[in-house]
């Protein structure tokens, strides 16, 4: 997708937005982000630890990891949605060059919903049960695009139609309990995209849905970001989602990025043993019947602090002595950046050649 067309599309479809000065850096630049939860009488918990990544306009980036790896906290930090008390945030988050960490509450409220939007995991609980779908879609239009009630209603109906909700005018009057889970997630996507944000963050948007609906929602997201030129940050534990959607993937473990790579090399030749383990644990349809699954041993709780070594070392079958004595740094190796003392071997010559072609 061309960046130029998405700019035109944006400006053309969202009049009244403050004019932007020419800016050709990344849309979102997260630099050395750290989030620490502090509670009196408890040890501090560092949920995100020096995470850096960037998203170009219109790009789709995946943030992958198990529960507790810090991927959702990263997203909430970008959106400025972390609770005010008991959280320490460090580093830098810049949206089109503008620093968001430490920005005023008013400024963040102006940006949220208009420039950056978010879709959450559970559509059953993410809609207000006592407010009609119509109000929940139009409120963001009225807040950011200065629409009257009537204009917003018309726009909301067309948004619902675009996300594939049949009979949208009637649905506007419905309440969340009258919609299925898939329909609710569509409505949430509609309200997130209502102001044509530059950045959409989806935090496991399909986890709570059943498998056939998952595929529909992913198709919808793919189509919408392509049409609108919206950049997408996809947070997921499901590599299948990443494979079908993302241009670039960052794999997180215990609060740090352990591997960053474009999609093809990541799937073709994962370099970090954790990424390799995640890929090996996906059940394959073409595997022989009864073949055992290959889970990663242990659980995310079996970590050691990054200060003393690689957090993944206790579960890693490629462990060497260095892994438990000092923490590896993120180093560029071929197409990927890998944080590992003993990465998986690079792909053979032919595989590498194929990637060059791709």
């Amino acid at each position: 997708m061309g960046t130029g067309t998405s700019e035109e599309l944006d400006l053309g479809q969202a009049p009244g937005r403050p004019g932007r000065t020419a800016y050709d850096g990344p849309l979102l630049a997260v630099d050395d982000l750290s989030v620490t939860f502090t509670r009196r009488g408890r040890r501090d918990v560092r949920a995100v630890d020096g995470v850096s990544f960037a998203i170009r306009p219109g790009e789709t980036v995946g943030l992958v990891g198990e529960s507790g790896s810090g991927k959702s906290v990263t997203a909430l930090a970008v959106m400025g949605l972390l609770p005010g008390r008991g959280v320490r945030v460090g580093g830098s988050v810049r949206l089109e060059g503008e620093e968001l960490l430490g920005a005023s509450d008013d400024r963040l409220r102006d940006l949220r919903g208009r420039e950056m939007a978010m879709v959450f995991q559970d559509p059953m609980t993410s809609l207000n049960p006592v407010v009609s779908i119509g109000v929940q879609v139009t409120e963001v239009l009225r807040r950011h695009r200065d629409m009257t009630r009537e204009q917003a209603s018309v726009e909301a109906a067309s948004l619902l139609r675009r996300v594939g909700i049949p009979d949208p005018v009637r649905r506007l009057k419905d309440y969340p309990h009258q919609l299925s889970g898939g329909m609710r997630q569509r409505a949430l996507i509609a309200s997130a995209l209502a102001c044509r944000p530059r950045l959409l963050i989806c935090d496991e948007p399909t986890t709570a849905l059943d498998v056939t609906i998952q595929a529909q929602i992913l198709d919808l997201l793919r189509q919408l970001v392509r049409e609108s030129g919206t950049a997408l940050l996809m947070i997921t534990h499901d590599l299948g989602v990443v494979a079908g959607l993302c241009d670039t993937v960052h794999v997180m473990y215990s609060g740090r990025v352990v591997e960053s790579a474009p999609r093809r090399p990541l799937f073709g030749s994962p370099r970090h043993p954790y990424t390799g383990g995640l890929l090996a644990s996906i059940p394959r349809l073409d595997a022989p019947r009864g073949a055992p699954l290959h889970p990663i041993q242990g659980s995310p709780n079996d970590t050691i602090p990054w200060e003393t070594g690689c957090a993944f070392a206790p579960r890693c079958d490629h462990r060497v002595d260095a892994c438990t004595t000092s923490a590896p740094a993120l180093e560029v190796r071929g197409h990927a950046s890998v944080r590992c003392w003993n990465p998986l071997p690079p792909p053979g010559r032919t595989a590498a050649a194929q990637e060059e072609d791709a």
Partner: protein, 336 residues
């Protein structure tokens, strides 16, 4: 909705039947009886028998109960032994006073309890929160009559800011007319603002005494409910939309947090009516509660039975109205 209302009203039948049996035996189990209470010192066995015959109290209990039931379904509860006037008429005369007092107490409890509970939740674990939690604990434990005497002593007797007893200064407003029986309203519609203001002042102390327990309960429920709701996913969704704080509070927090508050407020109506017996007695406030208290002292069987049955109907009907109001706020209930 109509079917729901009818079904709920049908439930009144067994409730009232059971209550009438309980009441019938309970008043007769009281020591003394109406004849002794009426005659006092002059009671002789002959006079007692004469009074009992006059009121049918010498007939077998099942005959008495059946004739009571037969007249009760026609809203005829007989006459007060003390005032000699029909029970229904007495109730209608006194009911506006009790409604006025309950409304004052309700406005005090809801008007203060909801903002206080909301603020306590938003300032969770701060001084204000702790004060409200402790205060509401004290509030529910203070007996109504004790608080009533305390308020009367402090603000009426010692400070003289507010009247101690009654509904209106009877000397100053001797010729005030009362077409509705709601004294504040009467003052307004008869173009006598001074009388309305005086009646309102008479409502303040008993209103606070009666409203304190509901205030404490509503504060606690509001606080707990808001604390629950602010952590709901849909509030985070609203924040992610960049909505203004006041929109989020009004539309997404309060509208949901009010659901349990509505239920609890409805349940307070029964509490207000029972609390009115004590409050009206302490403040010599001429309403249903005070009359009922006098009736109990005088073993005025017809009044006790009649008043309590009518109050039971009112409590059930008010709770039905509250449930209907709940449906207006919560679409999930409406669907059922």
């Amino acid at each position: 909705m109509l079917r729901f209302a009818v079904r709920r009203l049908m439930q009144l039948v067994p409730i009232l039947l059971g209550l009438s049996i309980l009441l019938f035996f309970w008043v007769r189990a009281l020591p003394g009886g109406p004849a002794v209470a009426l005659l006092g010192e002059r009671a002789t066995p002959e006079k007692i028998a004469q009074i009992n015959r006059l009121y049918g109290l010498d007939r077998p209990w099942y005959e008495q109960y059946l004739s009571f039931l037969e007249r009760a379904v026609q809203l005829n509860f007989g006459s007060s032994i003390r005032t000699q006037r029909p029970v229904t008429e007495e109730f209608l005369r006194l009911f506006p006073a009790t409604v006025e007092l309950s409304l004052a107490a309700g406005i005090f409890a809801v008007g203060l309890g909801i903002p206080l509970g909301y603020l306590a939740a938003r300032r969770h674990t701060t001084l204000l929160d702790n004060v409200s939690v402790t205060g509401s604990l004290i509030g529910v434990t203070v007996p109504v009559f004790f608080l009533g005497y305390l308020l009367r002593y402090a603000f009426a007797v010692k400070l003289g800011w507010l009247p101690a007893t009654g509904r209106q200064d009877s000397r100053e407003f001797l010729d005030a007319v009362h077409p509705t029986g709601f004294y504040v309203l009467d003052g307004i519609i008869t173009g006598n603002p001074a009388a309305a203001w005086d009646a309102a002042k008479h409502l303040i102390l008993p209103g606070i005494a009666l409203g304190t327990i509901p205030l404490a309960i509503i504060t606690r429920i509001t606080r707990a409910s808001v604390l629950d709701v602010v952590h709901e996913d849909y509030v985070r969704t609203a924040e992610a939309k960049g909505l203004l704080k006041r929109t989020i509070t009004r539309r997404h927090v309060l509208r949901n947090a009010m659901l349990p508050v509505i239920t609890v407020t409805g349940l307070q109506v029964g509490l207000l009516l029972s609390g009115a017996v004590l409050t009206e007695t302490v403040f010599a406030f001429d309403g249903v509660g005070r009359f009922l208290n006098l009736a109990i002292s005088n073993r005025d069987f017809s009044v006790i039975q009649g008043f309590i049955l009518i109050i039971a109907v009112i409590v059930v009907v008010v709770n039905l109205l509250v449930d209907i109001a709940y449906g207006l706020v919560d679409p999930r209930v409406r669907a059922r």
